[in-house]
């Protein structure tokens, strides 16, 4: 699902790295949003609605709408559409509203 050739744009990508999504090892590029890496890997369901548990993907992709909240490295409610991907990141589908361990 990556764009291979584009008539106008050239995409500057970071290093190819590995990260975990719900225990599965996936590949992406360092610095790109976690949601972009997931989408490129075919993962489109990012969260679930609180009351009816309906699947949710991203909506705005600019960190405004909270539709893409996930648990990243143990921290809940991370807007993965603007969260830069890093080597070894642990990305998990969040259950419920998420709890911050403090």
């Amino acid at each position: 699902m990556r764009i291979e050739k584009h008539p106008i744009l050239e995409f500057q990508k970071g290093a190819k790295i590995k990260f975990l999504f719900d225990g599965r090892e996936l590949e992406g590029y360092a610095g790109e949003p976690v949601a972009a890496a997931l989408h490129a890997a075919g993962v489109r369901v990012l969260s679930h609605s609180h009351s009816h548990n309906r699947p949710r993907g991203f909506w705005c992709a600019i960190g405004h709408c909270s539709s893409c909240n996930m648990r990243v490295n143990g921290v809940p409610n991370i807007r993965v559409c603007i969260e830069p991907l890093a080597e070894g990141m642990v990305v998990e589908t969040q259950k419920g509203r998420g709890r911050l361990d403090v």
């Binding site: 699902m1 990508k13 989408h39």
Partner: protein, 364 residues
């Protein structure tokens, strides 16, 4: 305490132009943007702009963002805070900023709100399925990050964004099944619409989406034709197999901070929703608070940049900077803005602005 003469909230086309104009007049400016980079939505606009040379016509949005950023850096008078979200405006005229793990108050003498807009949603059964994305989101995913949103897309909305993003989808190698528009005519610029039509994309006017189907993600949509009263015509329903539905049904100004600051607001559908009352220099009903760009009413980036310039010049002049050149510069900018809002494409904005003026008069 962090003090600044002029705080510009939002580093898109309006905010960048505002900061630049104010700094060039000699004011000391802080430009805060919640994103990791400046440029706002310009950074994903691969199409060329209209207008005149002064408004960067014939340049692609991505290039305009670069030019503005370089100019802003060159002034040496703009402190740029990226990854910095302005979270509130308080009664003591201070604003708070959250940046990374820091949270701090700022005391500005003037504030220019150039907060931009958010995409509107469309409500129908199944509208929350993954695969149904805002048109701007799809643009971000493809033009900024090089990822295709899916294999076959349907676009809702034949306004400028709808037709431009459809063309950009084709450029990225994604099939566009159809553009669906509830109105009986295409709202976007003819040149863009003609381009996608030539490439074989049907633009279905007087049509709407009535249902989205899919188990976990979007698999199919049902569309239908609308009569003159915009009611679904019985028997006109048909299915389109698509894995992405791109929603481009307008934008709403991000007005929260303006409300919080106590600016008097009016609801004007032609301008996208609640917008602040303001004078010709874009100063709101609260002295020292200005507005520019989509936050002032949904429009185009070219007009947003001119509005930013006007607000920046005015805020700087009110602090005593560039008073000798102010009148000449602001008159020229005003002329440009009138030009951009002229013609049939500016009709909606002109109507909206007239309504806003009327509302403001009634409110006095």
């Amino acid at each position: 305490m962090y003090k600044t003469e002029i705080l510009v909230v939002g580093g898109g086309p309006a905010g960048l132009a505002a900061a630049l104009a104010a700094a060039e007049q000699g004011a000391e400016v802080t430009l805060a943007d919640r994103n990791s980079d400046l440029g706002g939505q310009l950074v994903k606009q691969t199409h060329m702009f209209f207008g005149s040379k002064g408004q960067y016509a014939s340049e692609r949005g991505i290039s305009i963002a670069k030019i503005l950023k370089e100019k802003a850096a060159a002034t040496g008078k703009i402190r740029i805070l990226t990854g910095a979200t302005v979270t509130g405006y308080y009664e003591d005229k201070k604003v708070t900023i959250e940046a990374g793990d820091k949270f701090f108050p700022v005391e500005p003498q003037r504030v220019i709100f150039a907060t931009g807009a958010q995409e509107n949603t469309l409500i129908f059964p199944g509208c929350d399925l993954p695969g149904i994305y805002g048109a701007g989101a799809v643009q971000t995913l493809m033009n900024l990050h090089g990822v295709k949103p899916g294999n076959r897309v349907a676009m809702v909305g034949a306004g400028n964004i709808g037709v431009i993003v459809s063309y950009q989808l084709l450029q990225a190698g994604v099939e566009v099944a159809a553009i669906i528009e509830a109105a009986p005519r295409i709202g976007g610029y003819y040149v863009h619409a003609a381009k996608v039509r030539r490439l074989g994309v049907p633009i279905l006017t007087s049509h709407t989406v009535i249902k989205a189907h899919g188990n976990h993600c979007l698999e199919k949509i049902t569309i239908a034709e609308l009569d003159e009263k915009r009611q679904v015509m019985a028997g006109s329903e048909r299915d389109l197999e698509v894995d992405v539905l791109c929603v481009s049904v307008g934008l709403s100004p991000l007005a929260e901070l303006l409300f919080q600051a106590g600016c008097r607001m009016g609801y004007v559908p032609e301008l996208g929703g609640f917008v602040p009352f303001r004078d010709d220099c874009l100063e709101t009903s609260v002295a020292g608070i200005y507005v520019a760009g989509d936050a002032a009413g949904i429009g185009e980036a070219s007009a947003a940049m001119v509005q930013g310039r006007i607000a920046g010049l005015a805020a700087a002049a009110s602090l005593g900077y560039g008073k000798d050149t102010f009148l000449e510069k602001v008159t020229e900018a005003g002329r440009e803005l009138t030009g951009l809002h002229g013609g049939p494409t500016g009709e909606k904005i002109r109507t909206g602005l007239a309504k806003l003026t009327l509302l403001a008069k009634e409110a006095v």
